[in-house]
């Protein structure tokens, strides 16, 4: 058990700008050029947040921000951080919803936004090589004339970066059919916590040995910094149809979801929005959702024209059977975009209903959607807290949005109480904490609800193997205090529980 000798690892303390010596800033400046280093306290103000909700993640200023332009610069910055024993926090566009790119222990934020080139597009092999700062939607736009797109399409796709997508293993509406980010990453160039540049994975579909790319995707910036990604491109389908179906109740819509999937149909996307969501979105974006509907579904089907038509008719029939009052089909790109616009803008549009919202990301088995939604409704009533629902119905990934006022103490207490109840319920019926937004600092303390000490120790082992000194994005994912000496205790406890022994 020597590899679990966590005693070696040091606790990471806060490293604020007043602890950063000017020689350190100078060496960073030498590494990446003065124009690419920020160390002034006013500059650092705008790097103290990400896209996370106010009450969920505390802001925290880094000690310095660097914006490297080459992989060599990234490596040099990591080496400087290591020499000075400073934590490193990778950052993309900062649209993350779990506080992943907020420097909770201070240290150096490495923002990849100046490494944003699409380096190579190879249509024959359906792959592209990109830098981490490339914006998700721009990659799709870039390869559109060639007839391709990058399938993972988080709602934040107009702003978030490929590096962030890799780190969070992001998903989106179309991941129901096409899979999440991990299914679209073939290989990565990474700078490890020692400052060494490494390639993992590659062009071949099947790699011998451990799937390190798979380990890296979704690792929340805690194993190293992605400096290039070899991504898969997906051919654009011949025909795309988007159907809008309106239902009087959420239950009716949920039933339609189960029946559609049950009928063996695999839509490209299957999304639900409840009435509260429609109230926020429709007046702002005029997508055409009926304001009085209890819920609407957006169902996208794609493929060969005849098949799409047949499937669309079948979906229409199921929707009417389950109580739909309206089913409308959009074929042209403009009509489809309008229907999607409302959905893509839905989460952030909650700002129109309340000063603050808290967004959950739990996943439940699809068949348990109806009962989960009634439970959400119960919780909303019990806590007297409005909760809007907009989610990836097709794969059971819920996004209950709790609406409140962050200036109001009782509201915050309600949110905390309701959140705990909601998460515990989802986990109790076999669900997961996060579908796509990551754990970060936001949900780290809920990890013990889902994972045993043994599970967590196994994850910690991976972290340890990549980053023995714990410098890469500390204070994320693992419950508070976990990565210091406690890990060993947890691990021992887990083994003790299982085998009744204490390894030494």
């Amino acid at each position: 058990m020597a590899q679990y000798a966590y005693e070696r690892s040091r606790t990471i303390h806060r490293f604020d700008s007043d602890m950063i010596s000017s020689p350190l800033i100078s060496s960073l400046e030498r590494a990446v050029g003065a124009a690419n280093v920020f160390g002034d306290s006013s500059d650092l103000l705008v790097y103290e947040y990400d896209g996370s909700v106010d009450a969920a993640v505390e802001t925290s200023k880094p000690a310095a921000v660097v914006l490297p332009q080459t992989v060599e610069q990234v490596a040099e910055v990591v080496r400087i951080a290591r020499t000075n024993n400073l934590p490193i926090v990778p950052r993309g566009a900062g649209t993350g919803l779990s506080g992943g790119s907020v420097a909770q222990s201070g240290g150096i934020v490495v923002a990849l936004t100046r490494m944003a080139q699409i380096l190579d597009v190879d249509y024959d092999n359906r792959i592209a090589l990109v830098e981490p700062g490339v914006i998700n939607l721009e990659l799709s736009d870039w390869v559109k004339p060639g007839g391709y797109f990058f399938a993972p399409d988080p709602s934040s796709q107009r702003a978030c970066t490929i590096g962030g997508n890799v780190a969070e293993n992001s998903g989106g509406p179309h991941c129901l059919k096409y899979g999440v980010t991990t299914n679209h990453i073939l290989g990565l160039e990474v700078v490890d916590p020692d400052g060494k540049v490494r390639w993992i994975g590659g062009k071949g579909e099947e790699q011998a040995g451990y799937d390190l790319t798979g380990v890296f995707v979704g690792s929340e910036g805690m194993l190293g910094i992605v400096t290039k990604a070899l991504v898969r491109l997906t051919p654009k389908p011949e025909t795309i149809s988007v159907q809008l179906a309106a239902f009087p109740t959420v239950e009716g819509a949920s039933l339609a979801v189960s029946r559609v999937i049950g009928a063996g149909i695999l839509p490209a996307a299957l999304e639900m929005m409840d009435n509260l969501t429609i109230q926020a979105v429709e007046p702002a974006f005029h997508a055409g959702y009926p304001m009085d509907a209890g819920a609407v579904l957006l169902v996208e089907t794609d493929g060969v024209t005849e098949d799409v038509e047949d499937t669309a008719r079948e979906i229409e029939r199921i929707c009417f059977e389950t109580g739909a009052t309206l089913v409308r089909q959009a074929i042209t790109e403009a009509e489809r975009d309008l229907l999607w616009k409302g959905r893509k803008m839905a989460i952030a549009a909650m700002g129109r209903l309340a000063p603050s919202y808290y967004l959950h990301d739990t996943v439940v088995p699809r068949t348990k959607l109806p009962q989960t939604l009634s439970q959400v409704d119960e919780i909303s009533k019990d806590f007297d807290l409005p909760i809007a629902n907009v989610f990836h119905a097709g794969d059971g990934n819920l996004h209950p949005l709790m609406l409140f006022d962050r200036m109001n103490k009782t509201d915050i207490e309600k949110v905390v109480g309701a959140s705990k109840e909601l998460i515990e319920y989802c986990v109790s019926i076999g669900g997961a904490l996060s579908g796509e937004h990551g754990i970060g600092t936001e949900k780290r303390d809920y990890m013990t609800l889902v994972y045993t000490g043994e599970d967590l120790a196994a994850m910690a082992g991976i972290k340890q193997a990549f980053d023995p000194n714990g410098v890469m994005n500390p204070e994320k994912l693992f419950p508070k205090g976990y990565m210091c000496g406690e890990v060993r205790a947890h691990y021992n406890a887990a083994l003790a529980q299982k085998y009744g022994i204490y390894p030494l």
Binding site: D16, S17, D18, F38, D40, S42, D43, L45, V46, Y47, E48, Y49, D50, G51, V53, D54, A55, E58, T59, S60, K61, L67, A93, G94, T95, A111, T113, R114, A116, G133, I135, L137, E138, D141, S156, R158, A159, C160, A284, M345, A346, I347, A348, A349, M350, G351, R352, P355, S356, Y357, R406, M407
Partner: protein, 445 residues
């Protein structure tokens, strides 16, 4: 050092770092949930890749000043409030409906109240804003001088001698409008329709009316062909957009009141505008004068009558254009696409022209760097954006680029010329006028 969290900041409230008149409104600031959806649409963020140059970053800085965490005198704050082009692309994509324009304008007003600017810039701004634009006769004089200057050999001499560079005005000189036709004076010309169905008024504008008089005439002809008798009410002046954008609210309000008076005689007529930048300002007179008891309601009514040229013509749609056999592309002016959300109408008009080949350029709605007098005050950033725009235009293979704003037209034409391209830049009113003329019986096309 202990870092304040959002939790302990909420008690600060109010407008600690701003004075209370015309400060960025805390309620409007609070609407931003820092989701970051605005980042990719912001031209300065695209060029720099740094958070402080993004709308979200700038709003965070404004909040920090209003909470007392950052001084209004902080160089970063001032740099960022003016590095912003105020193109309002962020507003158009903001899911939470943050009113960025009024916020950044108020922040600039706050800065203007306390600051001294380097003399060179101050003079340029004074000349441009206080003197030229607020007095139409002087604007006319400047336009005449520019035209003279461009047509005589004087320009060459001045350019060669490097005098302009010395004064830091070389880019400003290059930007001086390439004039189109005699200037158009309000109250002196009018147009009648063959079969009039309504009357409409033209807002003449300063640059449009003087340097682009013929473009405004073209607009009036197109309106007449679409069934309107058109007049240009006397006593109207410049809209005050540049003043509003720079936070010089007092001058701007005077100018707004004068325009409201000028158009009040015929309260039922739509007010049609040929410059996107003017249109968005005129549509926001209600906000500008909301605290003026005499003018608040009248400003609101005035604003409700304002229509952009393409918005107006596309809605009237009473005449069919004739064919134009060319390949064109269209550039979205920020103050049309973002501030007024008008993107479909100009395309509808252009696509109604038979035989015309229309190609979209990449990033059509990303600012070209003109942004009022931004290209004069901040030539470096303006140039980066302008070159990016020009590359996208050339990439389309079009022979002509259509736009709806004089600032964009000048910026793009200048940089196209520099890039050695002979692609023509045409205002949509001129282009539609040509197409309608081709539709006349016996036009021979």
């Amino acid at each position: 050092m202990s870092v304040p969290t959002s939790a302990d900041l909420k008690d600060v409230g109010g407008i600690v770092g701003f004075t209370d008149i015309d400060a960025p409104e805390p309620e409007l600031l609070k609407a931003c949930v820092h989701c970051g959806m605005c980042l990719s649409s912001c031209p300065t963020y695209r060029i720099t890749g740094q958070e402080m140059s993004s709308p979200r970053g700038r709003l965070w800085l404004m909040s920090a000043v209003s909470q007392g965490r950052l001084s209004i005198d902080d160089p970063l704050f001032q740099e960022q409030m003016y590095q912003c082009l105020n193109c309002r692309a962020c507003e158009a994509v903001c899911p939470s409906g943050v009113q960025y324009g009024p916020l950044v304008e108020a922040a600039r007003y706050q800065i203007e109240q306390r600051l001294d600017r380097p003399a060179k810039q101050r003079i340029a701004r004074k000349v441009m804003l206080d003197w030229t634009f607020s007095d139409m006769r002087k604007m006319g004089a400047v336009a005449k001088m520019t035209s003279l200057y461009q047509t005589t050999g004087l320009q060459k001499v001045a350019r060669k001698s490097g005098v302009l560079k010395l004064l830091g005005l070389s880019d400003m000189e290059k930007m001086a409008p390439a004039t189109r036709g005699k200037s158009l004076k309000p109250g002196t010309e009018a147009w009648t329709a063959a079969e009039p169905v309504r009357a409409a008024s033209l807002f003449n504008g300063c640059i449009m009316g003087t340097a682009f008089g013929d473009t405004n005439r073209a607009a009036c002809r197109v309106m007449a062909r679409n069934g309107a008798n058109v007049d240009i009410p006397e006593c109207q002046g410049c809209c005050g957009a540049l003043q509003v954008h720079s936070g010089m609210f007092d001058t701007a309000r005077d100018m707004a009141r004068a325009n409201i008076d000028a158009f009040e005689a015929e309260p039922d007529r739509p007010i049609v505008v040929t410059a996107a930048g003017c249109g968005s300002t005129l549509k926001e007179y209600g906000h500008l004068l909301k605290d003026d008891p005499d003018y608040a309601d009248r400003a609101h009514d005035f604003a409700g009558r304002v229509k952009d040229f393409s918005e107006y013509v596309a809605a009237e749609n009473r005449s069919t254009p004739g064919p134009v056999r060319r390949k064109i592309t269209y550039q979205d002016a920020c103050h049309l696409a973002h501030a007024q959300r008008i993107t479909a109408q100009p395309r509808t008009l252009l696509k109604s022209i038979p035989d015309l080949e229309f190609v979209e350029m990449r990033e059509s709605s990303l600012c070209c760097g003109s942004a009022g007098i931004y290209n004069i005050l901040r030539p470096e950033m303006a140039r980066k954006l302008g070159e990016r725009k020009v590359n996208h235009i050339i990439e389309t293979g079009a022979t002509e680029v259509i736009t709806a704003n004089p600032g964009c037209a000048i910026q793009i034409a200048t940089l196209l010329r520099e890039a050695g391209s002979d692609i023509k830049v045409t205002h949509i009113a001129d282009f539609m006028d040509e197409a309608y003329a081709n539709g006349e019986p016996g036009a021979g096309i």
